[in-house]
Symmetry: C2
Subunit: 269 residues, 2 copies
Amino acid sequence: MKIAYQGEPGAYSEEAIINHWGDKAQAIPLPYLQDVFTKVENGELELGLVPVENTIKGSIHLTFDLLQERAVLIQGETILRITHSLIINPETKFEDIKKVYSHPQALGQSRTFIEKHGFEAVNTYDTAGSVKLIKEEGLTDAAAIASSRAAEVYNMKVLAKGIETHKENWTRFLIIGKEKMQPTGRDKTTLLFIVEHKPGSLLKALHAISDQGINLLKIESRPLIGKPWEYIFYIEFEGHERDPEVQLSLEDLEKVTTSIKILGSYPRA
Amino acid sequence: MKIAYQGEPGAYSEEAIINHWGDKAQAIPLPYLQDVFTKVENGELELGLVPVENTIKGSIHLTFDLLQERAVLIQGETILRITHSLIINPETKFEDIKKVYSHPQALGQSRTFIEKHGFEAVNTYDTAGSVKLIKEEGLTDAAAIASSRAAEVYNMKVLAKGIETHKENWTRFLIIGKEKMQPTGRDKTTLLFIVEHKPGSLLKALHAISDQGINLLKIESRPLIGKPWEYIFYIEFEGHERDPEVQLSLEDLEKVTTSIKILGSYPRA
């Protein structure tokens, strides 16, 4: 089974695929998040795995925007603990390190460690890509910040593990495909809606869910393009779209919204 | 009056300061958004202007996070229409342009124009900074995407105006300071709250506002650091914290939240 992800080999997304599917999966790296949606949308690859939320950084806006634009469905989710390592060329000495290369988010999440050692932080496009970079350039005065797996992938040395400031660092990934999932009894549903731009309309929409005793898990808003200061709301709640109480909720939601798109009902992680 | 902003001279934030205050203001450029909060927090500068939301890109997360962390208050807001220009060195010929330099957001917002002309997009850290870059490097095979004002600031030539794909492109900026504003009769209030992690708690909090007939304008969530899948909610609503109905709302909100921070009541733009 081939599963598309964004990033270089050794990326956290690739690790999430291996953790979730084990040997059954072949992870296919692609340069952009848009590419993952495109390959799944046009049927070239059956599944894709995309990050949707990190417990430090928050929601990944681009994923929400692409879920709205593209003809794909959420088929599942998986959660990965993010822990950053300091990675070097095997011949590099700790006292020679002057610069650390990584994606701005990983640098930000490791700021306490970087400042303690007086390293200069250098932004790159990707965590695993920065390991590839210091290997290809043969840098011995620099380190990269990425997963320990990235060090394995590129045959590099892990000098320090768990260098992130906040340990409660988790990323939730969505599995996207073209198929609707069957109810399992432990599901969640993600959908988006647009309400009329008038007082109380958001609250009415949330009531459509809560009045059936359904537990709202998350709410996110994104701008409605072309309508300044109006929003598309994304909600996640417990239950499957085929559950009777969810069907009643959806009927009520139809009445108080101008647009609804069910992005998927799928087993909870 | 000195007002801090993040960016290079010619940045959209500087333009927003000039539009809002005219000749009365001296705009002070600083490298990072954190610096703007720091200078205001420690009293070195009286006011700062920070972007909070764009009608294409959505909310600026870092601004919300800094409003939560820092001891500043919102004293006002101002809105700027964002329109991008293609800017070149005066001796550059249109047919020689191969690359366009700008911040990834400006490049993304001008993608239709860039693709139509077959330009190669090159990411930089700043829109106005990319004008400065092609000037200092004397590039005649490249252009920058920034505001027309940036072209004036650096004595460069505007080759095309309004190259953004979506014309409804506006950025809302907050004015931050240390003082509470008096009610004007046309105010809004921004606050953050945290609720207990149990079903229905967000809805109860929103009811505290709506039950007094107060109009909710915006809701945003950010992760609660250290508590995976829990959130800090930011809301904006009509009215001033000294208005009787807002005071009643705040009393109700106290009862259903574990934490509240009023970020400011200020005149609406």
